[in-house]
Symmetry: none
């Protein structure tokens, strides 16, 4: 494989709270493992604070140098969430309210009785030309524009977003994934899932609780380069979920939700 | 205090093992807390791999921009430990065996019965003009040259080195902080908090939603060098939180949770 075939990446972590030491970053490690699994070489990581010019400068340095850039943090509803602004500026595009993003948010807010406020609608602002990255956990989407993937800073949400973009990335290895909805919480399915993870080390298993729903919903995502193994593992996980559903008095069809 | 009085820093983490995900970095968080305690503003963190040109480029970008640069990793005895080489190159100086460093190592090796080898003596190579940073844990010293502090990657050793350089650093100011618990989400408190942030630019305000609780909890953190301003801002934020709690039908005492 020549250098030109090598798929490279950088991660840009955005947030004062990381540089003050108040929050300890774990996203660099997660993205590093994710890239390694996909055969993508993570070449650089940077952490910058919530200063627009610094974010723009780092973005432009990284996106011209690597195949992919992943950013985490700064896409929430508060005044210091300026990642979308910085990305729009770096690409020289506008930052309108995105209708699809607004729909995603409003439909989730309807089920949770959350009021639509100007602050919350900040989360629907997507740079022109951006494609949404689904957020199964808390609905507020990330987005991809050019080779830049903009994701949440909350680790669980960031991981769910990574799962959703995995099939769209060209890696050294083609990765397949299967998503299995589960109506019991992580505390209940965690044990069986951990045993199956130990049994299928070549299949990465993740669980993503969905926040703000009126019912418990955990999305289980399985990922592997080996389709046969993935199918075998998915059958076993579906069986474990069906059993957990039965024990909880729920219908056992995993695709009924 | 003018911007020129602000003491700034960056950390450069060096090592393939971090970017592959095999080792999870904890040094960024440790250095971040260390800087905050000393009133030094950590403005940026970077992770680069064991490629000399990349280390040199990052070092030169950071050392010209910030008061201090702290590096971690790449000062051990193996072939991929090239931090000293890169630092010497960045500063345009030679990299001889340092007599004092050699004495430190050999006296430790004498007590442990460790053979003196060429590989091990790599650890005594210090860029010309560098001053040693004592390593109380494993003897192999770090060094300071110009505004760059070169430390080990092993967290325990890195922390010991930080302690030994702390008295040599000019700290900015002592930073005070106040944490205010809030029982409504960021979407609700984000508006009022943004207004207060605009009113108190000298007080950094951050909001940190706590996931995985059975109830909504957002921690608001205010930070400033000015204790009077901090207290005034905290009173206003507490009042805004109390109002949000009342509007949500929650008890209004912010310390009741």
């Amino acid at each position: 494989m020549s250098e030109s075939d090598v798929v490279t990446a950088a991660i840009l972590v955005i947030g004062d709270e990381i540089l003050s030491g108040r929050t300890k970053d774990v996203n660099i490690g997660t993205v590093a493992e994710f890239c390694t699994d996909l055969g993508i070489e993570l070449r650089e990581a940077r952490v910058v604070s919530d200063i627009e010019d610094d974010i723009v400068a780092a973005l432009n340095a990284l996106r011209t140098r690597y195949t992919y850039v992943f950013t985490t943090g700064g896409i929430g509803p508060t005044h210091d969430d300026i990642t979308a602004d910085a990305v729009a500026k770096a690409f020289g595009v506008a930052l309108p309210i995105n209708a699809e993003a607004r729909d995603m948010l409003e439909s989730r807010w309807k089920t949770t009785g959350t009021e639509v406020t100007e602050a919350r609608l900040r989360m629907a602002r997507i740079p022109e030309g951006g494609e949404l990255i689904v957020n199964s956990v808390s609905a507020a989407p990330g987005f991809r524009i050019g080779n830049v993937h903009v994701m949440a800073g909350v680790p669980k949400i960031m991981q769910a977003m990574l799962e959703s973009i995995a099939p769209t990335l060209k890696g050294g290895r083609k990765i397949h994934s299967v998503s299995i909805p589960c109506r019991v919480g992580e505390g209940t399915i965690g044990g069986p899932l951990g045993q199956l993870q130990a049994e299928f080390p070549e299949v990465k298993m993740g669980s993503y609780p969905q926040m703000g729903q009126s019912f418990v919903m955990t999305e289980l995502v399985l990922r592997s380069a080996d389709e046969m193994l993935l199918a075998a593992a998915a059958d076993r996980v579906r069986a474990a979920v069906a059993e957990a559903h039965r024990a909880a008095g729920l219908p056992d069809a995993t695709d009924a939700y």
